[in-house]
Amino acid sequence: MVKKSTKTAAFALTAAALLMGATACGSNNANNTSDNANTGNTGTNAGGNAAAGGDKNVTITFQNIYPDPATPSYKMLHSIVDQYQKDHPNVKIELDSLNTDQQKLKLKTQAASKEVPDITIVNPAAQMKPFVDAKLFAPLNDMLDQNGLKDTFQKGLLDYYSFDNNIYALPDGNNIEVVYYNKDMFAQAGITATPTTYEEFLDDVKKIKAKGMTPIAIGEKDSWTGSFLFMNILLRTNGGPGFLQDVLDGKKTFKDPAFTDAVSAMQDLIQAKAFEEGATSIDYNTGGNLFKTGKAAMMIMGTWETGAIDSSTVGPKVGVFKFPTVNGKGDPDQFMLAPGSAFAVSANSKHLQETKDFLNYFMTEMPKKQFELKNAVGSGQIITGDFKAAGYSQLAQDVLALFQNVKGGDLAFDNTMKPAIAQAHLSSIQNMFVQKVDPAAVAAEHQSAFDSNK
């Protein structure tokens, strides 16, 4: 009997043991980090001392998340860094390449001891705010004005890295949410032009459905997918970006008509059976595959999917269009944005000016390199050039053309709101896929989650 209750206890505590595990990992990492940080500093000091007049020797530590030699990002990073070191023999760039998760942990521990590397990587908006509040990063405004760097970025993108009119980080990429569609299936349903209003869009959905095909593929078991689409509708019904920010600032509530209209519009889509049957048990990859194997006519997703669609069987048949206006509201050139991780410069850097100069060069070169490496889709900077001649696919060219006119937009719900509110939102949206709901009730659900997690 003792044995059995022991088993009971043992099971119940697995959860608690997880906690222990987390703590252990944390402290391990802290040790590693401080070791590394120390060696880094010694190097820097030695370099500084050895300098005598003229061009002093400088070592810049560059923490990054491109450790995989097979990726274009790795090649881009190394070729720019090599070039810079060749041109500036006195500058040594020390690369600290880590996996995304490792880097997050390492930076957190480094931040705790104010030992942030000269250049590091942060995520946009809410996620980088704690670091900015702790005054760990140097403002980059002056540097952005040099060589016209600022103008290379897409409009509005830098806002997600700005606090109090200072820009603290420069993004390595930006994706937007678009509608991919299968041209063959559209033709079969007798659709001649891509929709520009929500009414046309719903109409097309019904036409495709009438032919016995699935109009839109979605992987709603991973509930962020439905939310990403919903937020795009909200971006339209709100007549522009900033709804969630207004809620956070107390200027609006979730009971605002913009929000309930978005819920109704989303509901119309679901009730028109726009999505595959049983969508809430389909995960993200399976949902994507429905589209990529020609079983669904549309997929509404971030442009990071472009490469995967290109290499799928339906690749040559796929086109892309902007999400339509809803109830005549919104600007189709505003997109749901997924701004990438970004380079920030440590405020305590021993070689602040040199680091800024290097980053300026790096960011100026990056678009060119990305273009050569056929990695231009999803760049945060405006890339021009003859994509066709460079061997980009028609789809990639079309997607890139959309990027040219991006006029800002919104971030995903969970990038803007606290995790607990985001979870309530995600399950509330998922619920719409399985039953008809009253938009006012959805709004009330959101508002109460928001109020209880302020």
Binding site: S5, T8, A12, L13, A16, T280, S281
Partner: protein, 296 residues
């Protein structure tokens, strides 16, 4: 105890390493978890001590908590209801099947598959017919189109679909345990009963079932505890969705701690789970003590 005449100190030295690991991995985390349940903590920033507020929220304000408890307990009820059937089948097999071991091994196959595989397998079976769902396909070909549905996404039936998979998965496991129990009943007892005129189902009723009670209890406890910790299958098949319709206490705990980043609240749920486990284990044991006393 001291058959080998070893000094107590030596015993202590040999037992200590295990004891320390056991305490470190079982009791310390329990205590830490109970303490964490009193915090308002997102696992990143500083924790705030809030006393029993997490439990207040849990019992009174969390709309997803009681449904999760109900799903978990229903899970336990269904898995325990399966055990008598296992015992019945075991008794039948023991009497009528010659090479019963082979059959038991076949029943046992689902147990050796990983839960993730089982989850994916059944997810495909439950899929809508146009996505290759086998169940709906069979219903269609039987002309029962009106019975077809999207099994895992209708909030009212999704949970039952999950119960069924678990029953299927663990049937062989409990059958094996019960079969072993039945086989261990001495043959002489049956022979004696035969002389007294008890054969077939009569001997089952008066001999097999009462004598299998201790093994029966093991299965019940295992089934109960196994259902309370039900996480992996639910996570693979529905992720607790759609919209919490298939949440169990464990998935709710995971959601709260790791997705909503309410670590303190997640710990409160864990504490509740420990408490439920302990209480029910005591209850089950005392019930069986009475049952055993009656038959022995």
């Amino acid at each position: 105890m001291n058959v080998l005449k070893v000094p107590a100190r030596t015993i202590a030295v040999f037992v200590l390493p295990c004891l320390i690991i056991y305490i470190g991995l079982v009791f310390v985390p329990i205590i830490v978890s109970i303490y964490d349940s009193l915090l308002d903590w997102d696992s990143i920033n500083k924790a705030k001590f809030i006393g029993l507020d997490n439990f207040k929220t849990m019992f009174a304000h969390d709309a997803n908590f009681w449904p999760a408890v109900r799903h978990t307990l229903m899970y336990a009820v269904f898995s325990m209801l399966e055990i008598p059937i296992c015992l019945f089948v075991a008794a039948l097999m023991n009497r009528y099947v010659k090479k019963a071991n082979t059959l038991v091994s076949i029943y046992f196959v689902p147990v050796i598959l990983s839960t993730v595989i089982i989850g994916q397998l059944w997810k495909t079976i439950y899929n809508p017919a146009d996505m290759g769902g086998m169940l709906n396909g069979i219903l269609n070909s039987l002309g029962l189109e009106s019975w077809t549905r999207s099994w895992l996404t209708e909030p009212k039936i999704a949970m039952y679909c999950l119960y069924f998979v678990s029953l299927w998965q663990y049937f062989g496991y409990h059958l094996l345990i019960q079969f072993t129990g039945v086989q261990n009943i001495p043959q002489e007892v049956y022979e004696a009963a035969k002389i007294d005129g008890a054969e077939g189902f009569k001997s089952d009723w008066y001999i097999t079932y009462p004598m299998a009670v201790p093994i029966f209890k093991i299965s019940i406890v295992l089934a109960f505890i196994g259902s309370l910790q039900q996480f992996d299958l639910v996570w693979v098949m529905t992720g607790g969705g759609p919209a919490h319709a298939t949440d169990t206490i464990s998935t709710h705990m995971y959601n709260s701690s790791f997705l909503s980043l309410k670590y303190g609240y997640g710990s409160a749920l864990a504490t509740f789970l420990v408490f439920v486990c302990l209480v029910f284990t005591v209850v089950i044991n005392s019930v069986f003590k009475k049952v055993e006393a009656k038959y022995s």
